[in-house]
């Protein structure tokens, strides 16, 4: 798809795939990609940090569980383009606004998968650990968490991939990473910019997904052995 002239983007030629664009706008593309990664990573991490104690609480108190799951579903129902403006009065037009909103979405997925994961731990395993003298803390870290990990990691994958896609909406408050390029591409009818940013979004999502899968294999070697046997 090489251009006939020296460049494939101009007022007359407006091609979707354009190498010249990649070369000319390299710093801009890099900056947007890094911002995108940063927002995604911060959001998912913040979501994880809040989701974990919430899941533990919900597991301990049965009545809290339906409340937590209900609120999570409620948050998940609110469209992202509506959630962002609702945050603005508190955090302004900043990166924080985007990160908090995205963390809320990630949180709803993560809490649910954590509860699901803990539920998947067989009762007899927990009981034998108790019989061996494991206290609550050690039981959680050594027995329950590792056994719940595959389900939690599945939730983490879903949360991460959707956060990468949702980050683009952050362009409403000018912090959307690659979403900013997409928005600019639409308003200025710049096809190469729009297409490159869109493809990069999908590439980022797939790359992060692969990273999580590999991390999970390292963390839970027993599931791999089980799969090949």
């Amino acid at each position: 798809m090489s251009a006939d002239g020296p460049t494939c983007y101009s007022r007359l030629t407006n091609e979707w795939i354009c190498k010249q664009y990649l070369e000319d706008f390299r710093p801009e593309i890099q900056h947007a990609t890094i911002e995108h990664l940063e927002i995604t990573a911060l959001s998912v991490l913040l979501g994880l940090v809040i989701a974990f104690p919430l899941a533990l609480l919900a597991r301990r108190f049965v009545r809290l569980e339906s409340l937590v799951v209900g609120v999570a579903t409620g948050i998940y129902t609110i469209p992202s383009l509506a959630l962002l403006p609702l945050m603005v009065p508190f955090t302004g037009l900043s990166k924080t606004t985007v990160v908090i909103a995205l963390a809320l979405y990630a949180l709803t997925i993560l809490v649910r998968s954590m509860l699901e994961g803990f539920r998947a731990v067989p009762d007899e395993v927990v009981e034998s650990a108790r019989g061996l003298g494991y206290g609550t803390g050690r039981l959680l870290v050594r027995i329950e968490l590792p056994l719940a990990l595959p389900v939690i990691m599945a939730g983490l994958r879903v949360a991460t991939v959707s956060t990468v896609a949702l980050t683009t909406i952050g362009s409403l408050v000018a912090y959307g990473g690659l979403g900013n390029l997409i928005k600019e591409g639409v308003t200025t009818n710049f096809r190469a910019e729009l297409f490159t940013a869109s493809v990069l979004c999908v590439v980022l999502a797939v790359a992060l997904d692969v990273v999580i899968v590999l991390t999970q294999r390292l963390l839970t070697p027993w599931t791999r052995r089980g799969a090949t046997a």
Partner: protein
């Protein structure tokens, strides 16, 4: 905070609700978009997924279409549609500017939850039930309509319900590419630094989303009688793998 006062003032001024650019008209437009797109996706997705589920083939695709859909930003797809020669930004009947582009993008994003849930629903019908149906001499079509479909209905309904909420959310994003719908109140407010208006739009969009979710949940309960006790169990059995249930927020 002053912003909230502006928001309240915007919401309580009747003039903001009426007229061509009023919120009532935009809401009606977005509801129309949502329902049309959902119907389009159901007409294409339901028969396909149910048929595949009945045959027990194409599982890889039916499950993974959700993952693929999740990785593609709605905004990016909308932007590509709007910028391309077709469908572009042309007016499309009552759907307004960039109506066709929005409808196509919405229908595409409604497909994954519908396909995955319907496929899983039919596949999850217990084997012994299916075998009993074969033993009774039922033909393939009879098995499908009298056994598999009734048993799969609760899950199919929850897939459509998921899609409904998701399509409403996605329809809001159309405003980012100057498309139709209530999202326009939000983007307008932001681009003109009239944050009260932007937040007012967000409140309305969020409230309608919650109402839609509640309505859909009630409707689902009515459509699948006798499932009050059993449907949560089925849901949780499915959500053991979160990748099959969680939808895109859009």
């Amino acid at each position: 905070m002053i912003v909230f006062r502006d928001t309240w003032r915007y919401l309580t001024t009747w003039a903001n609700w009426t007229g061509d650019a009023g919120m009532l008209h935009l809401m009606q437009q977005q509801l129309l978009l949502t329902i049309t797109a959902l119907l389009m996706a159901s007409v294409v997705g339901l028969p396909l997924a149910l048929w595949l589920g009945h045959l027990g083939r194409g599982g890889f695709l039916a499950i993974n279409i959700t993952n693929i859909g999740r990785a593609i930003p709605t905004f990016a797809l909308l932007a590509l549609f709007v910028t391309a020669d077709f469908p572009g930004v042309r007016e499309f009947g009552p759907y307004g500017r960039a109506g066709l582009a929005t409808l196509l993008a919405l229908a595409l994003f409604a497909l994954p939850p519908i396909i995955t849930n319907s496929y899983v629903a039919v596949r999850e019908v217990p084997d012994d039930v299916k075998e009993a149906a074969v033993g009774m001499g039922m033909t393939g079509a009879q098995r499908f309509f009298r056994v598999e479909l009734p048993l799969a209905l609760p899950l199919i309904a929850s897939g459509v319900r998921l899609a409904l909420v998701q399509v409403w959310a996605t329809a809001t994003i159309a405003a980012l590419v100057a498309g139709p719908g209530l999202g326009r109140v939000i983007t307008d407010g932001f681009f003109r630094t009239n944050y009260g208006k932007g937040i007012a739009g967000a409140v309305v969009v969020g409230l309608v989303a919650l109402v839609l979710e509640l309505l859909a949940a009630t409707l689902q309960r009515l459509v699948t009688p006798g499932s009050n006790g059993s449907s949560p169990k089925r849901d949780s059995a499915l959500s053991a793998d979160p990748s099959t249930v969680a939808a895109d927020v859009g």
